[in-house]
């Protein structure tokens, strides 16, 4: 199912990688997304990652685990990672599943996440 010709777009703005996950990815596609993301973080020497999941209608335990793993990997590469745009029904389902993604930072939308990352960065510099 992997569509190599049409991968999920990632863009880097001001050292911050933004990736909007498309709905209904299969497990294989999520795994390859993870590979690409960590490579991108290294290549761009990014200090922030924003993962937008607002088009995801379903996040099951596999996708949830992969999200948590991506956030953790980016963090150990010194990039602050924020997951944004989770839908209410998805949040309620994850809580019911017992997947509260405690180690993952969240924000309401990409705008807020980027602001947080940028102001965090300028405070440090």
């Amino acid at each position: 199912m992997l569509d190599a010709a049409n991968p999920i777009p990632m863009m880097t703005i001001n050292g911050c990688i933004i990736v909007a996950i498309r709905d209904d990815l299969d497990d294989q596609e999520i795994v390859s997304l993870q590979d690409r993301l960590v490579e991108e973080v290294a290549k761009r020497n990014a200090h922030g990652v924003v993962i937008d999941i607002s088009s995801l209608e379903i996040v099951d335990t596999f996708a949830g685990r992969m999200l948590a793993a991506m956030a953790q990997m980016a963090r150990v590469m010194n990039a602050r990672t924020i997951v944004v745009g989770m839908r209410p029904a998805v949040a309620m389902t994850l809580v019911e599943l017992g997947m509260t993604l405690d180690g993952v930072e969240t924000a309401l939308n990409a705008d807020r996440a980027i602001n947080a990352i940028v102001s965090d960065r300028s405070n440090k510099l």
Binding site: D26, I58, V59, T61, F62, R65, A89, M92, T93, E96
Partner: protein, 134 residues
Amino acid sequence: MTDEAARVTLKTSGDVAFARQAAAKAMAAIGASTIKSTKFVTAVSEIARNAVIYGRGGVISFSEAGAAGQKRVVAVCTDRGPGIDDIDRAVSDGFSTGKSLGLGLGGAKRLVDRFEITSSSKQGTKVTLECGPR
């Protein structure tokens, strides 16, 4: 009162995505709320993935049950796997034979209105999920 609406053969992780699509379509057909539909489709995803990974593949079928006005969706997933030895343990949180967190079966159970599982080493595992619209 039961007509089979869809059937998905489960062999690869791509088939799990097809099962999710079929589940979402079945829930839309009974006019389910977003939250109910999301929960049911997530549960189907967990069960279908289990069948692919641990059950050596299988089949999941969707049908409608109940009288008009209070229809429910029933999903039946059967696999060809080795079966589950201790079902009570398998549906409890934190149990996993693989590398996962073990929230799959127990989590799926909490997401639907009715959950049934039978398993034997000869016939594999059969999971039934049922969910209403509200």
